[in-house]
Symmetry: C2
Subunit: 485 residues, 2 copies
């Protein structure tokens, strides 16, 4: 297994007592077993044990905890549901995790102005559930939406299958309450549509928790579409499916979602959910259209014609919402189902121009095979946002080395094809050594200075986003040593 | 007329010669008559004369000019077409204007990946014209799009009538080349869809030229809609038109545009363009639907039914693209046409929650009337983005005082109703004293520090965005003195 980096920091009983006075006795965890629960998020390759976990119930409590940390020079970070795939919620070097899971109140629903105000620990899907009876929804829908929190979504500017049509978190979050790293509480943005001055909300969204702790979020609600049509296209090859994606977009159709699953994923998902996917298909496309009832069936026919023109074996249309839900359940839980394929897997998250999908997918397959491993692909094809899942066994040091090497080669391939190293999962800890391959020294210097504006002490979510060393490879080597190979 | 603030700075012959060596003899203007041309933009209430205007033809030249300015401590700023309505391109305290009008090359059109790369001085409409034969467009369309430049759009995060459906500049600009205030050239973002790390592109877009000079822009292209339907709804009152706007949105229809003109504007526009607007109407709505042919006529029928339910007097549909173009020409030139109503006018730019339109419009009318003036309204009703035009005579000091006072009261009213002080024109010089009414000291401190990251010398586009004093009223009084009343 992997080693746990030990905290170098002694946390004093007095410090713990102060935290208990703020959050209550049951709001502070410090026992070894409790700390083990928080030593990683959904990026399981590295573990970092916190010294303390606090569970505040209000912005005021978060502010007081941060103030104590700042005074004592103790690092801290916010954590939502811990579903992040890039290690953004790992307490590098120990310190205090501020878990926002108890801050899960929806503070206001304003349907007339289409706004919702929620605490950071509210689960993504709960936002939509709070307003769905009235015909509204919160649009961004990460696959982890049943667990992940709106605060975590803000940190990572999360996307999801419906990003293609509806955009990502930054397009739907209009304001945040932020506890700055000195404990001060500020409100940035608000309910109004337009941001004035420097776009601080846009800057905070996607800053991966490095500017402070977001405790409340003002988000946009949108009307549920009047109607939805969900299709499953079955293809003999990834190529045909990819050409179909290009064909649909070229026809001026903007599907709500355009998701691809390759053969390995289809097999895993079918084994888990018995949806009825054809096990011998080369690729499946989930194509969802939504909008007004008027004209949607004509669009369905056009999509079917494009599928047929690209040698689709068949196109099924979900007959009702139960069938649609079953299909989405299979897609959104594909990462979990992949657990059937190998003891461990790691999901990469690169972006490439959509037109390069077939070529890059071939290269990824070759890269992974070269390291003696297998790869399964499930991804947002409409966005060119790839999610290769590398299958491995983490008890085998050789395979673990191969995974790390293959992941890097995959990301380099994405950059070489004009893409980038993360589409929606963030940089976090996982890719912090990799940003030098995409950013210049000057970019990083500017970003570091902006970080310094918010967090001059550098205590907030240490070790994320920025490379800890200078050269790409050097840091990689350093990082590799922290994994027990 | 208004006084011109004199430059306190002596520009040496040596400095001028250096600029001439960089930009060529015809690329440097310093004569009094030339300077007069550049002493204001479309915000004509104040004038500030530059010391020098340079007309570079490349990013390299811009960089060299900036380097010389930085070395000499001379303030500088970028300027596009000078169509900005908030005085963002005024050289407060003199200095060097870097006019980007000669940098008007389209550098790359990449239709497969739907990207266009253009120099900052390219006129907004030229982007669309470069790709329209291939069925594409650059979506944001400010009313000044026949003149305004993409660089200016980036500075102000410009919107336009089609913002409602397509979003503003920041949703369509993916990368910029920025000359930093020390002369260094950096490229931020690029062609890829997703931004990683801190969203510096998002930060630069809308920063009103205070972080440096944007010289090149990478923008997204979108498909032209397959079909368009443009309607003109005629109403007896602004109230009925507003209720129609709410009704359309509530029905889940997302029009491409939803624009309102009130009676005074209708009369001015009709006098200028003879489109056939009914002169006795209380308000007209331009309602545009676009998308796929399939189903669009059903949507048109639904919109007509909603208009009828809100007592529309009639709903006309443009029969062809010539009629459509004539209607949009009338709308987009409404500000110009308003010149028929009074010797001078000033356009305000506030945002309010859409649901409060009728109430706020009534209050605006009362405010303006209290100062003995008239107001005409033309605005993006779907966004709640108001554009009251206050009509006055700038040779009458009493009226000028009334305009300034009424403008402030209008913006306060917007803020009081949960809105903000600018929707799309920016803060510029005009509203720089007003931001304290919307931002806290801490907000401004944070923004000031971010400004300092990019521009530690504080030379780049001085006097914009930030209040030069502390209290709202104090600065206002100071600013008022700079206008010869």
């Amino acid at each position: 297994m992997t080693a746990v980096a030990e905290s170098p920091r002694g946390i004093s009983p007095g410090f713990l007592n102060e935290l208990r006075a703020i959050c209550g006795p049951d709001g502070v965890l410090a026992g070894a077993a409790d700390m083990h629960v928080y030593d990683c998020d959904a990026y399981t390759i590295e573990k970092h044990r916190p010294d303390v976990v606090v569970l505040p119930t209000s912005t005021q409590q978060v502010s007081e905890v941060v103030r104590v940390c700042a005074r004592e020079g103790v690092p801290f970070l916010g954590r939502g549901a811990g579903t992040g795939l890039a290690g953004g919620a790992l307490p590098v070097g120990g310190g205090v995790i501020i878990a926002l899971t108890r801050m899960k109140r929806i503070l206001e629903v304003d349907l007339r102005n289409r706004r919702i105000v929620a605490e950071a620990g509210v689960v993504n899907l709960s936002l939509t559930r709070a307003v769905s009876a009235d015909g509204y929804q919160y649009a961004p829908d990460p696959s982890s939406q049943m667990a992940c929190t709106i605060g975590g979504n803000v940190a990572n500017n999360s996307g999801g299958p419906h990003t293609l049509k509806y955009g990502v978190t930054v397009n739907h979050v209009l304001g945040v309450t932020l506890v700055l790293p000195d404990g001060e509480i500020v409100r940035i943005g608000g309910k109004e549509e337009d941001r004035i001055g420097y776009d601080l909300v846009g800057l905070v969204v996607g800053s991966e928790g490095t500017f402070g702790i977001v405790t409340e979020v003002v988000a946009r609600l949108v009307r549920q579409p009047q109607t939805v049509r969900t299709m499953l296209g079955v293809f003999d090859s990834v190529e045909s499916a990819t050409n179909t994606v290009s064909g649909i977009i070229a026809a001026g159709i903007v599907p709500a979602a355009l998701e691809m699953m390759d053969r390995l994923i289809i097999q895993a998902v079918e084994a888990a959910f018995h949806f009825g996917f054809p096990l011998d298909a080369g690729a499946c496309l989930i194509i969802e259209l939504d909008g007004l009832e008027a004209g949607i069936d004509e669009q369905v026919e056009r999509v079917k014609a494009i599928c047929a023109a690209n040698a689709a074996r068949e196109v099924r249309t979900a007959a009702n919402s139960a069938e649609r839900d079953a299909l989405w359940k299979a897609r959104k839980r594909a990462f979990g189902a992949a657990g059937r394929l190998a003891p461990s897997n790691i999901t990469q998250d690169g972006v490439i121009p959509r037109t390069k999908l077939p070529q890059v997918l071939r290269e990824i397959e070759q890269i992974v095979a070269r390291h003696g491993l297998r790869v399964a692909n499930v991804f947002h094809a409409g966005d060119g946002n790839l999610h290769p899942l590398i299958l491995f066994d983490e008890t085998d040091p050789e395979q673990l080395r191969g995974v790390v090497a293959a992941s890097e080669e995959i990301l380099r391939t994405c950059v070489a094809h004009g893409g980038s190293i993360t589409g929606e999962h963030g940089i976090g800890l996982e890719k912090s050594h990799f940003v030098t391959c995409q950013f210049s020294e000057k970019d990083l210097e500017t970003m570091g200075q902006i970080k310094g504006v918010f967090d001059p002490q550098g205590l907030c979510n240490r070790g994320k986003l920025f490379p800890s060393g200078h050269g790409c490879m050097e840091v990689t080597a350093k990082r590799r040593r922290s994994v027990a190979l």
